[in-house]
Amino acid sequence: MNVTTKPNAGDAAATPKRQLSDISVMVAGQGGDGSLTIASLLSAQFASRGLHLYSTSNIASRIKGGHAAAFLRASVVPTGCMGDHIDLLVAFDDEAVEMAAPNMAPDGIVVFDASKGAPPEGILADTIQVFAVPFGRLAVRDLGRDLLKNCLGFGIVSRILGIVDDAAESSLRQRFKRLPAAVVETNVEAFRIGLSHADEIGLGEGTSPWTVDEAEREEHLMIAGNEALSFGFLAAGGRFYAGYPITPASEILGWLQRHLPKYGGMAIQAEDELSAINMATGAALTGTRSMAASSGPGFVLMQEGVSQLGSAEIPLVVVDCQRAGPSTGMPTKVEQSDIGTMINGGHGDYPKVVLSPANQGDSFVIGAFATNLAQRIQGPVIIAMDRAMSQDSTTVKPFDLEGITVDNAKRLTREEVLKLEEYKRYKITDDGVSPWAVPGTPGGQNLVTGNERNEWGLVSAEPKNRNKMIDKRARKIETVRDDLPKGCRWGDAKAPIGLLGFGSAGPIIERAAIRLAEAGTDVQVLRPRTIWPVLDETIDFIRQCERVYVIEYNEAGQLAHTVSGAGAPKEKMVSLRKYDGTPFRAVDIANTVLEKEAAE
């Protein structure tokens, strides 16, 4: 027999069946081991059970053949993040076990590819069941191809989770439906070999140790933040995009290159980020709704361009898909350490708005909102994404496509221009926004410049004019302030303890709050979606609470610094920071809060 189990695995059927309403799975091995395949097969299974999903991956910085891990969470209630622990690990090698061990749930299960030997000793808690099956060896022996170990493994895994064999097989057929029939059959055969080995180790159909709940969520999308954001931009009339490849922003370029041409638009790969933002600026000058995106290193290269947008009053959406810095840092890791540069990265004072979606689905809403907002303020609107927000996928409600509008704001039509007596590009107005005639409009000729200039657009350094122009531009933010996206609130507004955080940390913070509430601690949560200007809701939230934990992915406490700079009382804030590149866990946040509160 090729199948071995760790002593403590015992007879699966003997232990009482566990019913899971929330399960986190990790599948890991060398790139090419097919971790992603098993994860996506499971994903389809869980989806068909109506569960809410969240998926992420962790690709080492090796170029090829490095270690790769796929993570998947399925739950009856939506969570928007990974669980605190891994319940089920499918490990193709020792490294996978080592990586997962610290996060394994004590009552978890490990399925281990024992082709190269038994699982590593002494690193997994004794309470964890281990099923060691030589997937690879069996796949080679029975079918002559190592690669088929995924499908074989999927057979075992589906038995552990109590998935009906037929259902599992049909997910598999669905997944490979574009491949030649013979290939599909071989994969199915591998799956069945997996099933028969499952039988041998006591994992017969119907005798699985676990079953996973079903749920009745409505129709959902499973989408990553970069995709949703790009889609939002398109839906709100976005037509020109320029970018330069960089992790984790490249998917935006890819998505828009695929989709924009169908709508008479264009996504262009520029020679660098300087070119990208200036091309997008040029397109924006024609009235075309435009966007540029990058990550930290490229985003700061764009900052002179952002100042120009602010000064010359040109509408553009600029996206920063943050990654762990400084400099090249850890490009595939999560961090929120560009808050300072998103707010202060350009030179001089100019109006700008920094928005942050509350979750992957909200990226659609924020993408569309930003596209219109840029037109309204005729200036830069920055979207703060982060690695996880950008690249992780989760189930979200279908988007309200009918609700999307295209707001032309103060854009003048040809007819409107012709009716004017005179046309001044930088006319001083009460709301700070000047009516806008785009090139090609007869009678609308104007000069756009990043120099200080008079209402006609002619360069002027005259002090009185300068004051008027700076004040005019500053007014634009006041004009839109009330319409800026409000944050997501959770909990009772009278709770003394507040948790504050944004972006991909937000859903985790909310899970922590739920834990705290369950533990009897009275908490409330604010997850701002407008980072700059700092809205009153944020300052008030901090003022109302006795103590606020400001939870963010960076070392310097940039969010805390920002809100206290805007007037929130620093003495009420406790800064919780993580900057090792790995995500928060709700349990750790909750425990830290409990500890600190106990110490108060």
Partner: protein, 278 residues
Amino acid sequence: MTKTYTPAEPIWCAGCGDFGVQGALERSLIDLNIAKHDVMILAGIGCSGTLQNNVGTYGYHALHGRVLPAATGVAFANPDLTVIAVGGDGDGFAIGAGHFVHSVKRNPNLVYIVMNNSVYGLTKGQDSPTMDSSAAEGLDSTRLALSIPGASFIARGFSRWSAQLHELTVAALEHTRAGRGFAFLEVLSPCVTYNDTYASWESMLDNLDEDPDYDPTDLSMAFSRGVALDAEGRMPAGVIYRNDGAVGKEAPPSMAGQDLNPAQHLDAYRGIMNSYAV
């Protein structure tokens, strides 16, 4: 008619070569009968980068070195405009060198006029990349352009030779307006304040337009002629190289004029959304 801004008086020093460039451009726009509201002049930063204020068209003052990306964005987004980028040699060949290379390669439909005076005029006279100095020989921007696949129109004028400059400006505009792509015109435009080269440059110029043996469609000839002249301390003027460029290539769609009403695309958007359904 709606009153718009009054074009500014040039702020150049008396005798600056840039006057000639502006004159040639203004005359060419009239000759070709192009309405001012259909023209967008984008400028870099420098003395040269003030020309856009003086003509009465749509104007944009780009960031230093970034006039080509900005102009490319305009040209792609609204192909109905006549797009003219102008700027200095520092703007184009120092901070903007990378964009120059990629613009020649990308061949967008726009005219690019560089007022080359071999110095940074606005910042008070530092050497620019086209300056021959003891440290290094100056760049020849036309030769640089020749080396880039995609080059479709390369010419050099001299701001004192106004008849030829006018012809070259018209030719550049026609190249672009015929959809052939990027028309690059370097104009030797002396800076009387920091580097008065009227006489020396005039004596160095060899007018290819007057040479019946010169074939501006022969890339290798264009290059070797430049090298040979250089060896004699001279340099070429006129149309140095031209081809059909982007003719026949599909022109990008105009984005600027689109009706963006989302209702018309609802079905298509729903299709995208459904591709994510689980």
